[in-house]
Symmetry: C2
Subunit: 369 residues, 2 copies
């Protein structure tokens, strides 16, 4: 979550809301264009062009340095993708080496993390040409993504209308999956959840979360143009409800977002319940890292958007779900009382599941009560 810094710099804010167990802190609004948006948009002096950029840095949350690099890069770029931007002109990398690492650990870990970041940047069609590295008690990884755009290259996230539907492009539950994985080694934590999930399933869920976080939202950004998206944001530190509310507040029209379905990595809802409503996953407050895009689409386009995301040609088989509706309202967002939980299978198990159902391409979830 980038989110421009607070305008007045006052009240000790811009640092107030520590929303994520991962150590993320999101910050508030900026001046000019871009109030509350994922990226800032700076009109340039040259021929109607705008500079759009975003920054993000945080601490490792998965154990695999290479995947951590990919996740960090996907997370930075996601703020551009949320505005329907598909190209990035340049990235900078922000790094710190932990002072607690010895030279050998450093030489093993940091190049892998940098390689993951660079590989994801390359997959995104951009590259990393600069950055800064410091030594710090904790490892830090993050970056800056910048692009110079023509007006048609980006979609301002402010034009949702009643009748639109809400589409989500990645499942929720990354925070639960990452934490459950850590709890495998903490008996008092593990005892709370072991009745609802096996150790093997925790491993699979963790792998699924890692792959999901490392996936670029670039295809979704491209399809936002094709299917006339009215607004979008990416789901990160504030959880789906936090980002839905933020997006609702930016709308020009009197709209409200109502979420009916929660696609969640399989078994993560059960863990959350078993742990006493862990992280508020079912209330939508569990923070995500490098989550999906939440997109307001015309109702008649949404199913095709989801189908095209899933088609291997354009979308590498990524799934997307219609999760709610846009109705007339007061620029707020809510989840209905008993949302339908969509259990999203792990990729490992998906392979076999798909083999049985591949010809029977299931329609996207459109059953809204």
């Amino acid at each position: 979550p980038d989110g421009p810094l607070e305008e007045d710099g006052g009240s000790g804010a811009g640092v107030a809301d520590d929303t994520a167990e991962f150590g993320l802190v999101s910050v508030a609004q900026g001046p000019r264009l871009g109030i509350g948006m994922d990226s800032c948009v700076i009109p340039l002096r040259h021929g109607g062009l705008s500079l759009i950029q975003t920054t993000d840095f945080f601490y490792p949350l998965v154990e695999d340095p290479y995947m951590m690099g990919r996740i960090a890069c996907a997370n930075v770029l996601s703020d551009l993708y949320a505005m329907g931007i598909t190209e990035c002109d340049n990235m900078l990398m922000l790094l710190s080496v932990s002072q607690k690492m010895n030279e050998k650990e450093r030489d093993q870990v940091m190049p892998l993390m940098m390689k993951g970041f660079r590989d994801a940047a390359e997959e995104a069609g951009t590259s990393v040409t600069g950055g800064q590295t410091v030594i710090n008690p904790w490892i830090i990884i993050g970056g800056v993504a910048s692009v110079v755009c023509q007006p048609n290259d980006f979609i301002m996230p402010d034009s949702a209308v009643p009748g639109d539907v809400l589409v989500l492009t990645k499942p929720l539950g990354t925070q639960v999956a990452v934490n459950a994985h850590q709890w495998l080694d903490i008996p008092e934590k593990w005892n709370k959840i072991k009745l609802v999930i096996s150790r093997e399933e925790v491993e699979q869920a963790y792998q699924e979360a890692m792959l999901s976080m490392a996936t670029l939202n670039r295809t979704a950004a491209a399809l936002m143009h094709k299917f006339n998206a009215h607004a979008a944001t990416d789901i990160t530190g504030f959880g789906i409800i936090g980002h839905a509310r933020n997006l609702a507040q930016q709308q020009k029209n009197d709209v409200a977002f109502v979420i009916h379905n929660l696609p969640i990595i399989s078994k993560m809802a059960a863990i959350s319940k078993a742990g006493g409503n862990l992280f508020g996953l079912l209330q939508g407050t569990s923070s995500e890292t490098s989550g999906g895009l939440l997109i307001c689409l015309p109702r008649e386009q949404a199913a095709r958007f989801c189908a095209e995301m899933k088609s291997s040609r354009a979308g590498d088989g990524q799934q997307a779900w219609i999760i709610g509706i846009v109705e007339k309202g007061n620029r707020c967002a809510r989840i209905i009382d008993k949302p339908r939980i969509i259990e999203v299978p792990y990729r490992g198990s998906v392979v076999s599941a798909q083999e049985g159902s591949n010809n029977n391409a299931s329609p996207p979830e459109v059953q809204l009560t």
Copy 2:
């Protein structure tokens, strides 16, 4: 010192050289244009424009949070100024709050630091529209500066020719001044230097260093165009000799830089000697924070450059010194055996000194042996 990240991300590098007592680590080269430069230059798809950007973040080194914010901002922008760029389209702020601060400390310190950063950005004619804040064991402050330029807006730092002279736009010695100030409270350190400087002078030197570090190099950047600068860099973590060498290596012509004069904040050379060649100040290896620009200028223009820097109209009375020459050579840089130390008086004491000599506008230092 931004300096793009290492291309291959390999060898654990990009993180190797901890050059500064301040905790700065500088990183190595990048691909595309911009090898070893202070900012990266990205050709855009739009009408000959380039995106030029840089990032820097580090840890506080002065006690005054407001001044620290100003220094951090001046330090980030300096990488643009080193390329003769006078405008900045956008800044992002990078911050971390220390987890060791209580709420009251946080609410006192962080807004001041942010205000300092913003005020310096405003002085630079730009503004801060985004950023990221995290919680960390240590306070971090830094930023990103970006600008979209036409070809004439920037000066590639690669065109020095034999016969040029080297100009420096801020005195050296900030690291010595900051450390000496800390040693006021550390008897075993203070005992080493107390014979050559009084406590009051340490305070004055520290103030002078703080003001110098908080000064924008923007005037110098503008005058680089007016006086046909051939190349420039800013002096930061690698000290004057490190940055001079780096700049020499980037030259198209067979040149070498020879430094004859070292303008140093008054008494800092004496402290360095008394402490047993502290930080290698007289060898040019003492790191600086937000130091001056080192500029290769045609000999016949350099004196006028310095005079115009000093004139209140354009340069707010900043001083600049001719410190060396460009000769034919092997893209290296050196300081002569016994460089002339120019004692740069503290601003407090400058006022009275200037009163006596104002009409007698002294020529810039041009006596090169």
